[in-house]
């Protein structure tokens, strides 16, 4: 009998937590189908009395949403490429070579990730303005890339350490240089790690708001998170239906990305711990 009570209690908790998580998302989703009037109803309706898909279409046209989407993609891709370009060699060096102060170097790299954006955003603004790099997705991409190098190093280092150094050594003894061994052995074998890191960085860049809002001024450079925020406090009040529609358009790629890397992500984070 005792077991059953535990099971029932566990089940109830489980259902409760599931609803707690899903209900808001559902509500957000369904709000995009509501009419302008219905979004103001109190108490809010769970099922729209008037089902309309109108706003799902207008959000593409009454604001430069397409431009925002384009900028977000550019920033995301550039950030991933920059982060990988720098974190791969760093991770390799820190994994394979036992140099003095290696632990300190790694620690320093990792602490950069915890830099509060608010503390550095103004100096960066001034710096970029002098370079005339305000309001472009490229500069955002460079910035995001730099910020995410620590994550790249962290994840890739554990993937690289999983590969026995004998494989690279054997390749070198066969007649190749260490560089060739890196491209012939290390890179192919850490492919899942590369995919995971790329998607993580892409997702992080995708949702970044603080830097984007300060460093961009027009649809030339603004990204989706900034674009969505513009719906808040406009002349029409809060147009929740439009906000929700745009938001869902914005998060679809990240949802897909996370579904793909789900298992790789857990592996990368827990790798080094169980040795």
């Amino acid at each position: 009998m005792k077991l059953d009570t535990w099971k029932v209690a566990a089940l109830i908790t489980f259902i409760f937590l599931t609803l707690w998580t899903i209900l808001p998302m559902y509500y957000a989703f369904i709000t995009a189908f509501k009419s302008r009037v219905e979004i103001t109803y109190w108490p809010p309706t769970l099922i729209p009395t008037e089902f309309t898909t109108h706003y799902w279409i207008t959000v593409w046209f009454d604001r430069p949403t397409i431009a925002y989407y384009r900028n977000t993609i550019i920033a995301g891709v550039i950030s991933t490429m920059i982060a990988l370009a720098f974190s791969i060699p760093t991770a390799y060096t820190c994994a394979r070579f036992n140099f003095r102060n290696r632990a300190d170097v790694l620690f320093t790299i990792l602490t950069f990730r915890f830099l509060p954006p608010a503390a550095v955003v103004l100096p960066i603004y001034v710096f970029l303005r002098q370079l005339a790099l305000i309001d472009t997705p490229i500069s955002l991409g460079l910035l995001y890339g730099a910020i995410n190098i620590p994550i790249g190093v962290w994840v890739l280092r554990s993937y690289i350490r999983e590969i026995p150094p004998e494989l690279e050594e054997s390749y070198m003894i066969d007649g190749y240089s260490r560089t060739r061994a890196f491209f012939g052995i290390t890179l192919p074998l850490i492919r899942p790690g590369l995919v995971a890191v790329s998607l993580i960085i892409l997702a992080l860049s995708w949702g970044e708001f603080l830097f984007a809002s300060i460093l961009t001024t027009s649809p030339v450079g603004k990204t989706l998170p900034v674009g969505i925020s513009e719906y808040m406090g406009g002349e029409w009040g809060y147009e929740w239906n439009k906000i929700m529609a745009v938001t869902f358009y914005a998060i679809i790629p990240t949802l897909i990305a996370f579904f793909i890397i789900r298992k790789h992500l857990a592996r990368g984070l827990t790798f080094g711990i169980v040795r």
Partner: protein, 368 residues
């Protein structure tokens, strides 16, 4: 086929001296064994010879060329790892072909050589598979194939049999010996197993805690070990070490042990009185079955209390006046309860070591 000279190689990892002033030579075309327990430094030495590790001091000379600072890719040395180190993302064919691709040989020639070597090692049918699909014995042969396919100056083997099943190891030993004879290649083979050294090699180098203790022919080192550590490494299943005292009276020399007084007069002309450590191998102690031998001065009484039959041989434990002796008998001998026996000591096989330096003092002849 090339001659390898190791000159005064030393290596430290942090504060730990992993290799200390190692010097030896491997003759061109010979099969040489690096014998030593784990952590003796064998793997580090092989890695230094291959070039994936740099020594702190010393030189490596291969085929009259100083390769100490040459990168691994230019050394023309092949290394077979204990863990096989097969490339998991490549098929067996590509694994074996890899060193040839590095030399940029034409594809037709690569194909010919890979097929030849796979045929020789009986793995031709596995060429299209991936390493994860192979058994332990198959992986080992692929690792060897990848080494043999190239015309290396020297082939290094790092304990290739350790990760194999007992039966595979047995068969592999005979195969390796046959193979080395037909190849006429220079081989340096690292192992903790003294049987590998005796069974397969032309010369042996005993490594212990980073130091080279002795070099010589396997039988030579086996018969005349320079040091207690060498004789320990080179005995199965263990070595009997007994405290002994040499007394000289008139013109007789008596070697006294807790259980026997041995007439050592014929051998003692090079020795002085005093304490020694006597070493005798288990299979040089014989159980006496004929009464005439029992009265010989070199036999003594003991009480056999335990026997283990291993196939057609027996390991027996006897107590001789408080000293536990291990005997290795080449026949089956079983006891159900303790039995009094007479044991004969083969005088020719006695080894005496100095108690302080632990170096061999008898027989005095040069080692190995």
């Amino acid at each position: 086929m090339a001659r390898l000279c190791i000159e005064r190689i030393s290596k430290k990892f942090g504060h730990e001296k992993v290799l200390e002033d190692i010097s030896f030579e491997v003759e061109s075309g010979s099969f040489s064994t690096l014998l030593g327990p784990p952590s003796a430094g064998k793997t580090t030495l092989l890695r230094i010879i291959a070039g994936v590790e740099t020594p702190d001091e010393g030189r490596i000379i291969l085929d009259r060329e100083d390769i100490t600072n040459t990168p691994p890719k230019d050394r023309n040395v092949a290394l077979v790892y204990q863990t096989f180190a097969l490339y998991p993302h490549m098929k067996v064919y590509d694994n074996i072909a890899n060193p040839l691709k590095a030399k940029k040989l034409p594809l037709a020639e690569i194909s010919k050589k890979v097929n030849e070597v796979s045929e020789f090692l009986n793995i031709r049918h596995l060429l299209d598979r991936y390493p994860r699909e192979l058994s332990g014995g198959e992986k080992q042969r692929v690792a060897i194939a990848r080494a043999l396919v190239r015309d290396a100056k020297i082939y290094l083997f790092d304990e290739p049999l350790t990760n194999l099943d007992y039966k595979l190891r047995e068969a592999a030993r005979t195969e390796l010996k046959k193979m080395s004879k037909s190849l006429k290649a220079t081989i340096l083979y690292a192992t903790p197993d003294p049987v590998d050294a005796l069974a397969m090699s032309d010369s042996v180098h005993v490594l212990f805690r980073g130091r080279l203790l002795q070099s010589g022919t396997p039988r030579g080192v086996y018969n005349l070990p320079n040091d207690i550590s060498v004789v320990k490494v080179f005995s199965y299943p263990t070595i009997n070490l007994i405290d002994a005292n040499l007394e000289m009276k008139e013109n007789k020399a008596i070697l006294r042990t807790p259980f026997a007084s041995i007439d050592f007069s014929t051998y003692a002309d090079t020795l002085t009185e005093g304490r020694y450590l006597l070493a005798i191998r288990p299979h040089d102690l014989h159980i006496v079955f004929h009464s005439e031998d029992a009265s010989s001065v070199n036999s003594f009484k003991a009480r056999l209390h335990l026997t283990y039959v291993v196939g057609s041989e027996t390991i027996a434990y006897a107590d001789a006046n408080g000293v536990t002796l291990v005997l290795h008998l080449p026949y089956i001998y079983r006891i159900t309860e303790p039995k009094d026996i007479s044991v004969l000591l083969d005088l020719n096989k006695i080894l005496l070591f100095d108690v302080k330096s632990l170096k061999r003092v008898f027989p005095k002849r040069g080692g190995g």
